[in-house]
Structure formats: C-alpha cells, structure tokens
C-alpha cells in the first residue's frame, strides 16, 4: 500500500465529462439497410429474386426459342439426352423378305422410323402376339403393351411404328393357345432404337443450311433443349421463362395493387376515425370473411375468359378485389397508433395540416410494415396462381404459367419427372426467396419483432 508514488495521487483534470458516442447516429433506413446487409439468408434471397427478374426480362432475348413451337421428334425428352440422329431416306413400306429365320430377330436397323421383327414359329403355337416393354421381362411375365396379334401360323413378322423414341425396348413374341389365350412359351429380344431424321425434316427444323450439306447415312445433332421438352415437344426452358412472366406478373403486380389499395383504404379509415372508420372496417371484415379461393374461382367464372384471352386479367381482378383488407386493417391499426404519438400531437399543435400529417408522419412510419407485408404477399399470390392453374382455373392454355406447367407435368410424373420438377422447383425457389427476404426485411425494419426468431 505504501508502494504507490505520491505523484499518482495528483489531481487530474476531469478530461471527459460528456463521453463521445462511439457509434455514429443512423437514420431508420440506414439502420435497416445495415441490418439487412448482415443477414446472409436475406441477401442470397434478394440475389435469387433479382436473378428471377432477369430471367424473365432478359431470358427470352438470350434463348429465343418459340415456347409454343412443337418439336415432334423430341416429345417429353428429359434434359441431357443424346441428340445424335441418323439421316435416313423417307419411310417406305416394308417389303417382307422371303425365307425364314431361326429366332426372334431384327430384319432391319431399328430406328425411330420403324422396328421390323421376324421370328420363327414358336413350338405348339396356334398364333402369336407381339408385345413391347420399356423394362426387361421379369419372372412375372410383364411383357408390356400388346402391339399386334396374329391368329395364324403363317405371319411371322411385325413392323412397329408406334410412337418410337430413341432408347431401349424389349419386344416379346408370345405363343397363343388354341383358345386364343397367350401361352407360356415366349421369346424376348432387346432392341436399341436409334434416332433418325430425314433430309427434308432436317431442313424444316433448320438443322442444316441446304440439302447439299448432308447425305444419307450422316449423323447430325437434333435441336437442343437444355431443359428437355414437354409432352407436346415444346421447349421447357422457353416455356419456363414465358411462364415466369405470367407467374411473376401476377405474383408481383397483384400484391402491389392490392397492398396499395389497402394502404389508401386503411389510411383514410384510420385518419377519419369515428363512424366512417367503423363502417369502413365492418365492410373490410365482410370481405375478409369471403372464403378466398372459392371466390377467386367464382370471380374467374364470372369475369369469364373470352376466346384468345389468357385468363391473367380475371385472376388479377379477383385478387385485387378480395385481398386488400388485410393490409387495410394493418395500416389502419398503425395510423391509429401513430395518431396518439407525441410527435404527431406536437406537429398538430404547430398548425400542421392533415395532408402534411399524413404524408410527413403517418405514411413514412407505416412504410416499413407495408413493405414487409408486400414481401409476404408476393409468395402468397404466386401460390394462389399456381393453385388455381393446377386445378385448371388459372391461366388458359396455351399460355404457360408455372402452375399450369406443374399441372401438366404431374400427369406424366412417373415416366418423365422433369416436366413436373422444373416448374415446381421454380415455384418453390421463388416462394422461398420471397419468404426469406420478407423475414430479413421484417427483422431489419420492425423493431418489435426483432430477436424473436
């Protein structure tokens, strides 16, 4: 205790009476921006949203395939399939060769034009039935679809031209019993079918410049579909981008309009107060009570879809008519709250006019909440569009939307899942991005909700 120098006890001028604040003061929006920037999930979401908008606006310029054009050579083709095609002559009828063969075999090269089979008569057969399957024939004798039946023992050949695709098929010939029932004796052949095209077809598709560029027996690449084609042979990527326009148009424009309506309605109601407020809110209550999706459907029917209309407009109107009250209630509540605040009272005492109060104090202070609502309404609108299109009440074909594409894709889900997966994935990613962005915005803007999640 004695080891302390006396000088240590010298009086010191009181250096800082008012401490400097280490943090610069930030405005509400600056603070919100910093919070949003530090939220990685929200930033990634924002990036996704912007990419989607670019996809919608710039995509069709870069990938200028007509979304309505059908590529009949490539129907329901998944992405990444081999695109090489053999150039062959136009189809000519099969001249059945004389003579017999020992077993089930190909009489000619198997192509998408035709598969020609020949076989020897099966022992004890009164006739034959020809089957085709996409999978090997197992012990349970699943031969696939029957293609033809010959109840005599002289026809020992068959030509298959039914909807052939490049790939592997399993053909079976089954012996028929005397009563016409298929017996147990059968023969199966694995056939690899090659894609073909003709000179004329290649010219029509624009795959080559002139007929002189190719010769029979050449191999060429058929049109590229990066994400495959749908059940009508339409390019998935082009359709997805076209669909994005529809889905995002409804998903963004509709919420913008009805949120704006809600803001105006709620602000008027909240500012007017008293009887007017009560009547306006009662009306809003009634609109809220309407079962939303049922009335969406009802309105869609009521507004009708004329010939050549895509059905986007009735859907937009229905959403706007039905969905404004939620925002109106919210904004009214905010306005009522702000009206009671000291700074509004002070402003009023200083002689501020109503319009000044509304535009200077009330609306800016509700802007954050409105922005958050808007971000959460967008995924809801996208879902609504998808739902309606899925049950066939949305946009009318041939206009694609992600919802209607999912609806079409679900029918062929088992064989060509890509037709469902791509639009469904886009809906999910978009909804996810807007939801996360909304979470981020809410955390950044709304102090009361901070730190609860």
């Amino acid at each position: 205790m004695t080891g302390i120098a006396a000088a240590e006890f010298a009086r010191q001028a009181s250096t800082e009476h008012a401490q400097t604040l280490s943090r610069p003061s930030l405005s509400y929006w600056q603070d919100a921006r910093i919070r949003l920037q530090s939220n990685r999930r929200a930033l990634v979401s924002l990036f996704i949203v912007i990419s989607l908008l670019i996809l919608t606006l710039l995509g069709p310029v870069l990938w200028s395939v007509n979304p309505a054009a059908q590529d009949l050579d490539q129907i329901s083709v998944p992405p990444g399939r081999d695109r090489s095609a053999l150039v062959v002559a136009e189809y000519t009828p099969w001249v059945i060769p004389a003579g017999t063969v020992a077993e089930l075999q190909l009489a000619d090269t198997a192509t998408t034009q035709s598969v020609r089979l020949q076989w020897a008569g099966l022992p004890g057969a009164y006739g034959h039935r020809v089957y085709r399957n996409l999978y090997p024939v197992g012990p349970e004798r699943a031969y696939g679809i029957p293609l033809g039946e010959f109840f005599d023992n002289s026809t020992l050949n068959f030509e298959d031209r039914l909807d052939l695709r490049p790939g592997t098929y399993y053909y079976s010939v089954v012996a028929l019993a005397e009563n016409g029932r298929p017996g147990t004796v059968a023969e199966t052949l694995r056939v690899d079918v090659r894609r073909t095209t003709t000179v004329n077809e290649a010219l029509a598709q624009g795959l080559v410049g002139s007929a002189a560029d190719i010769a029979l027996g050449d191999s060429l690449q058929v049109a590229l579909h990066p994400l495959g084609t749908d059940y009508l042979g339409r390019d998935m990527l082009a359709r997805l981008m076209e669909g994005a326009r529809v889905s995002l148009f409804i998903g963004i424009i509709a919420p913008f309009i009805y949120v704006l309506m809600g803001v105006v309605y709620g602000a008027v109601s909240g500012f007017a107060g008293g009887k007017v407020d009560q009547v306006m809110m009662r009306f809003a209550d009634f609109v809220v009570a309407l079962p939303f999706l049922l009335f969406m459907i009802l309105f869609k029917i009521a507004f009708g879809i004329g010939p050549g209309e895509s059905g986007i407009f009735p859907m937009l109107i229905a959403m706007i008519v039905l969905l404004w009250p939620a925002t109106a209630r919210l904004v009214r509540g905010q306005i009522l709250q702000i009206r009671e605040q000291g700074y509004v009272e002070a402003s009023k005492l200083l002689g501020a006019k109503s319009s000044y109060l509304i535009f200077r104090h009330m609306l800016p202070n509700t802007l954050g909440v409105v922005l958050v609502t808007l971000t959460f309404e967008i995924p809801r609108a996208i879902f609504t569009e998808a739902f309606l299109s899925f049950i066939g009440m949305g946009v009318a074909p041939p206009t694609p939307s992600w919802g209607s594409m999912s609806n079409e894709g679900i029918k062929t889900m088992l064989n060509t899942p890509h037709e469902l997966i791509f639009p469904a994935l886009l809906i999910s990613i978009t909804v996810l991005a807007f939801n996360l962005l909304g979470d981020g915005l809410r955390d950044a803007l709304d102090a009361r909700m901070r730190n609860t999640e």
């Binding site: 240590e8 006890f9 010298a10 800082e16």
Partner: protein, 354 residues
C-alpha cells in the same frame, strides 16, 4: 484482491456473498456485468442495493436465484452462502429448495410478472404445493390467508380472479403473498415499486416492513430510488459498473457519504426545500462500457475528484469508518497527505438526510 477485506465476520451472516462475478457472452463480446461483489445480510434486516440502470444490481440477485439464463450468462467467480452453505449452482440445500422456499423474490413489473392465464390463488398456491407438498385445496385456502396477510380485501374472491382483473398495486401485493408463501428467510425485492405510482409505492413498502417485523425475514431491496432507500433500508450498498463502490449503514451513506459517486447521486436528487433551491445536478456522461471495463476506477471519467492513479489501478476497498467501506483512492493515506491530491469539500458530504 489486495487491500482491506470486507467486514470481518465473527458469526456467519444469514446471507454472505463474496467476490461474485457474472459475465454474459453476446455477439458483440463478453459483458462483465458483475465484477466482484461482496455483501452480507443479517436476519431481520434490510439491505438496499442502489445504483443506476445497467450497473449489475439485478444481475447480482438474479444469479443468487439461478435466474440468469446460462448460456449466455456465466458465474465466473465467487460464492454465496446461506447460513454458511453454498447456494450458487444448487437447487436444494439442507433438504430444502432454495428458490421459493428459502429465498423468495418479487419483481419490478407486477403486470407482466404473473401468468395471465392462471388464477391468482393458483399461482400463490403453486410454491406451497411444490415445496410443502400441500394438496391443491389446502394450498388454495392458504393462498387466501396469504392474500389477506398482504392486505388484499375480499381475499377469497380475489384469489379466484385473474391478473388482468387486478390493479398494479394489488398485483404487487399478490406477488409478495406468493414470495412469502413458504416463509423464506430472505425476500429479494427487485425494484418492487418502480412501476407503481407514489402512494401505492408507500403502501407496498409499509407492507414489506410489516411483514418483516412479523416474520423476521431479511430483505434485499434493489432500487435506484434513494427515497425508497432512506425509508426502509438498514444497510446500503451502492453499486456502479458491476462493483459495490460504497457500503455502510443507511446513516453512513446519507450523512457521511465517502465515495464521489454516492455524493453525485445525492446531489442529483431533487429537493423540495424552499431554502435550498438549486438546479438539478445530473452526473454527466455515461457509465463505462462493460464489454471492456476500464483498468482503473470505473467512475473516473465522470468523477470531479479524479486523480492520476484512478485511470490505471482499480481502487481498493477502504474502511473509512467502522463497517463503512468505500472503494476510492481518495481514502488512501497518501492521498490524504499529498498536497496535490483533491479533497471533497466538507459541505458536500455532510449533507442532511434527503
């Protein structure tokens, strides 16, 4: 810790807290909320812990009750002994639960401190069922007795009501009834009157004192209101930036204040004495950032009497009079003799009782 130790003990006090340190891990870093706090409470006495918001007074008592959420909270050092038995980190000592049974606690905001969906009587009955093993029926009728003991009229009817049907003052009485249900030896009151208006404040303080006389329990009162301290306290501990800076009897603190911070607090109190009209004297500046506590005295940047040493070395705890401690370098013998050292004007610290 060097220097003079706190009060030399002959018999163990009812509650003895030594060198308690609590910190919180946050995203911004570690907050050292309590940095070595020692005090003791005697049976039947009231200790008031005074200090401004964020000085660590609530954290101190909540850590005794195990109410600090861990993580992020952490008790890094110290001990707290109830009748000589360690309570930190324990739920049960001597076969009895600590919380609710041996120590009761009431809180600042009675409006939010009671479960809104549970009847008042059921909430008061809860500790009795929990610690005494009473049946619900017996506990409920005991709850009614406790309510009338807390001077709530029509207790039987009130016990069947819900918190939203009570006023703030009534709720605090119910809270008190709940805290004393199991006859604890210590009642911790964390700013019990802050949320109430002045007349109700007085009633609640009277009630606490009456109950103390009847049951002989000790009270640890957390407050920032020197008026409340003057009214009920026997002993006072003044906290600043996670440390107790001055400790002594209520008269020591008010009539013979030794620490510049206590002086500052006293000067900052409004007075209604017409002869002594003066402006309010707030203490300028703000408390230090407890993310990085200063090496020296925490009060140094705001202190009008600061010395060179205050910046660099934490002050020792000096016993300025019998059982009156102050953590300030001004009491160092060399500061008293050094001609360059400041001294506190006599008229400041021998003020009258506020």
């Amino acid at each position: 810790m060097t220097g003079v130790m706190t009060s030399p003990q002959t018999i163990p006090a009812l509650l003895e807290v030594r060198d308690l340190a609590v910190e919180f891990a946050t995203y911004g870093g570690t907050v050292q909320a309590v940095r070595g706090v020692s005090f003791s409470v005697e049976k039947g006495k009231t200790l008031a812990i005074v200090g401004e918001s964020g000085c660590g007074k609530s954290v101190t008592v909540q850590s005794l009750m195990g109410l600090i959420p861990m993580p992020p909270g952490r008790i890094t050092a110290g001990s707290a002994r109830l009748n000589g038995v360690e309570v930190l980190g324990c739920n049960v000592i001597n076969g009895k639960d600590i919380r609710g049974s041996q120590i009761g606690m009431i809180f600042q905001d009675p409006m939010t401190s009671l479960n809104p969906t549970m009847r008042i009587g059921d909430q008061i009955a809860e500790p009795l069922q929990e610690h005494r093993g009473y049946s619900h029926k017996r506990a409920f009728s005991e709850a009614i007795n406790l309510l009338s003991l807390s001077k709530i009229p029509e207790a039987a009817k009130r016990a069947r009501q819900y918190p939203f049907e009570f006023s703030g003052g009534m709720l605090q009485r119910a809270m008190i009834a709940m805290a004393i249900a199991c006859k604890p030896s210590i009642l911790i009151a964390d700013e019990p009157t802050t949320a109430l208006d002045v007349t109700i404040q007085a009633q609640i303080l009277d009630l606490l004192q009456d109950l103390q006389t009847e049951t002989g329990m000790a009270i640890v009162l957390i407050t920032h209101d020197l008026g409340v301290v003057a009214r009920v306290a026997d002993e006072v501990a003044v906290m600043y930036a996670g440390k107790i800076v001055e400790q002594g009897s209520v008269d020591d603190i008010f009539y013979r204040s030794a620490h510049p911070y206590t002086l500052g607090l006293k000067l900052a109190m409004p007075t209604n004495d017409p002869d002594k009209q003066h402006k309010l004297n707030p203490i300028d500046g703000s408390p230090p950032d407890l993310f990085a506590p200063p090496p020296g005295c925490g009060y140094c940047p705001r202190c009008p009497f600061s010395m060179k040493i205050c910046d660099s070395r934490p002050p020792e705890n000096f016993e300025v009079a019998v059982q009156h401690f102050s953590r300030c370098w001004l009491h160092h013998p060399q500061a008293r003799i050094s001609p360059a050292a400041p001294s506190i004007p006599r008229e400041l610290y021998v003020g009258e009782r506020a």
